[in-house]
């Protein structure tokens, strides 16, 4: 019903030789909440606007409900969009804002009233129906923008960073509200953001974009646990995954990975891949997979670690560690309290099963052997 399929979508802006969007291919299933995540300038908003019909397509196709809509004007695509700036009509009151699209489509008056009032109640906007946007708070305006989209009962919802202009606390509550609404209404939603927390919590699947291209698509936890390259590895997770330069050694006992004075077995990775890489590799380990003692099963102890900084955050402690000959600023997620002090020499444990290896030239991950 509300399936959106993009094929080879590209966009070049006037006056720029480069493509802002390069051949994106992606399918959003009916009822799915797909998040387009990426840093500023990666092209995610352009993709969204091309789907909406607000931006002309340079090449490629957009299909909604199995029909290609490249030539269909925005108003006929049965799409509703929530803008980052809310884009409310400043001269109309809340009711008129929400009713406008329906009135323009010739929906009978009684229907309009029924639908608008229902949505207003659902979003807690009923007391504000007669107010104009300038008399509303940011959160209220956001809800009006959302209500305007819901009332249209479209096939697809598009969201362009709708929460960026809200303060932190409001962002959390509105985020949950949005999730609830979408799950309840069950309509396809495509959501653009640069905030990874929004992506992780809201999406059925997330699509990570960088410089106009799709880097990885998948359910949030999948992408988190199995990043396909160093970019994704560092983009998700806060603090980001630690990346260190390591050496790959081909010893009689098997392939191993050495960093500083430590060495771990590289048996889980396909040996020929490792050999092809040469002797250098990048090892990735998330802060939560490093810990203070005691050593647990499957772990390895890293001696010669010096504590650089200790940041107690209350619920956890972030410890910045320097490992001799390996890396200066490895982040470790400690517990609520720690006995470690700055300048101290300590031993940090590493969970070998959580190690990722990346090819330093292509930055792609070396997948573990299936076994």
């Amino acid at each position: 019903m509300g399936e959106v399929e993009i094929h080879g979508l590209s966009k070049r802006y006037d006056g720029s030789p480069d493509l802002a969007v390069r051949g994106i291919t992606l399918t959003v299933l009916d009822g799915e909440f797909m998040v387009l995540l990426g840093p500023s300038g990666c092209g995610k908003s352009s993709v969204l606007r091309m789907i909406a019909g607000l931006e002309p397509i340079t090449s490629g196709t957009v299909a909604i409900d199995r029909k290609i809509v490249n030539e269909v004007p925005a108003k006929d695509r049965d799409i509703a969009m929530v803008f980052q700036s809310y884009a409310l009509y400043p001269h109309m009151d809340v009711f008129a804002n929400m009713a406008f699209g329906l009135r323009r489509r010739g929906v009978p008056r009684s229907d309009i009233e029924r639908r608008v009032n229902a949505v207003a109640v659902k979003l807690g906007l009923a007391p504000y129906l007669k107010r104009k946007p300038h008399a509303l708070s940011g959160g209220q305006r956001q809800r009006v923008a959302l209500g305007r989209a819901i009332v249209r009962e479209p096939k697809v919802f598009l969201f362009d960073e709708p929460l960026s202009n809200l303060d932190a606390a409001l962002r959390v509550t509105t985020r949950n509200e949005l999730i609830r609404q979408q799950r309840e209404i069950g309509v396809t939603a495509i959501y653009v953001t640069h905030d990874q927390i929004e992506a992780m919590t809201m999406g059925h699947r997330i699509c990570i974009m960088d410089r106009g291209e799709v880097v990885q698509i998948g359910p949030p936890l999948d992408v988190y646990r199995n990043p396909v390259n160093t970019f994704v590895a560092r983009f998700l997770g806060n603090p980001p995954m630690n990346l260190m330069d390591v050496t790959v050694e081909d010893t009689p006992a098997g392939m191993s990975v050495r960093f500083g004075s430590c060495s771990i077995s590289a048996a889980s990775w396909p040996a020929d891949e490792l050999r092809r890489m040469g002797s250098k590799a990048i090892m990735g380990i998330r802060p939560e997979d490093l810990y203070e003692g005691p050593l647990r099963e499957g772990g390895v102890a890293i001696q010669a670690a010096t504590i650089i900084a200790v940041e107690p955050l209350g619920a956890e402690t972030l410890i910045a560690v320097s490992i001799d000959g390996v890396a200066d600023d490895v982040m470790v997620r400690g517990g609520r309290e720690t006995r470690l002090r700055t300048g101290q020499s300590a031993t940090i444990m590493l969970d070998v099963s959580a190690v990722h290896l990346f090819d330093p030239e292509t930055t792609r991950v070396i997948a573990r052997s299936q076994s």
């Binding site: 606007r49 019909g53 607000l54 931006e55 002309p56 004007p73 925005a74």
Partner: protein, 280 residues
């Protein structure tokens, strides 16, 4: 909006829009082209066929118009009057604007009201009395008198444009300067003026164009031929060359060309300057 332009404008992009654009361009530019063509032809040629191109183009007519009809005097008078008036306006207008924007003092609102309300006074309310007053001050029929009237008459608009801009300069700059021991005058000269330069340019452009073309005050307050400003000079020229259309066209071209020349180089500044008072 730029992106959505093509899509919803597709129907509009067809011929009607282009025809309209062509039509209006001809309407707004055509008359000038016509005059330009006529300025290079003699009157008999024009009456014979009013719309053809000059053949041969009589460039010497321009020299004739300039030398034989006192044009240099008119031009010189206009230059003196307008340059002096604009310079004075900008300087004292900036001082007033700076003062109003930067300082609090008793009577602030009164001064502001009095000066800005000058913008809505119709010229007729002033010229009759100015006529009497200039006669009494012995400034009638003098360029100095006209300059004084111009400055006083356009002070309101100038202050209006400059004040808004000056007020936006962060107070911190002035606080810092004062802590460094600068006097009020130095602060004005070294800080407000340089930073306010864009607004000053706007005001200068606006005043320049308005005063260069100004007609009513000049026609009432100047009567001698050697005091006439350019607009008056052209009227006089038209008057004495009424049937000599060719010569009259040449005279018009002399008046038009400087403006067009300036416009070709400074179009953005001139457009912004002239509409500064209206855009909010």
């Amino acid at each position: 909006m730029r992106g959505s332009g093509p899509l919803w404008l597709a129907p509009l992009r067809r011929s009607p829009l282009l025809i309209f654009i062509l039509l209006y361009t001809v309407v707004s530019g055509g008359p000038f082209i016509w005059v330009a063509l006529m300025s290079l032809r003699t009157t008999p040629e024009i009456f014979a066929s009013p719309y053809s191109a000059p053949s041969p183009p009589h460039f010497e007519k321009f020299v004739d118009a300039w030398t034989k009809s006192n044009y240099s005097t008119y031009f010189w008078n206009s230059t003196i009057v307008v340059v002096s008036a604009v310079a004075l306006l900008t300087l004292i207008g900036a001082m007033v604007a700076h003062c109003l924007a930067r300082y609090r003092f008793r009577g602030h609102r009164l001064v502001r009201f009095v000066i800005l309300s000058g913008m809505i006074l119709p010229p007729q309310l002033l010229i009759l009395s100015l006529f009497q007053i200039l006669l009494e001050f012995r400034l009638y029929n003098t360029l100095v008198g006209l300059i004084a009237v111009y400055v006083a008459g356009h002070l309101g608009m100038t202050v209006y444009i400059l004040e808004g801009f000056f007020a936006q300069i962060p107070q911190d700059l002035f606080d810092a300067a004062q802590m460094d021991g600068y006097s009020d005058l130095e602060i004005f000269w070294r800080i407000a003026l340089p930073i306010g330069a864009p607004a000053l340019f706007t005001a200068v452009t606006l005043n320049f164009i308005i005063l260069w073309n100004e007609f009513l005050y000049a026609v009432v307050l100047l009567t001698e031929d050697d005091k006439r400003t350019l607009p008056l000079g052209i009227m006089h020229f038209m008057g004495s060359h009424q049937l000599d259309i060719g010569m009259a066209a040449t005279g018009l071209m002399i008046a038009i060309l400087p403006v067009i020349l300036l416009y070709a180089f400074f179009s953005e500044m001139m457009i912004k300057g002239m509409t500064a008072g209206a855009a909010r």
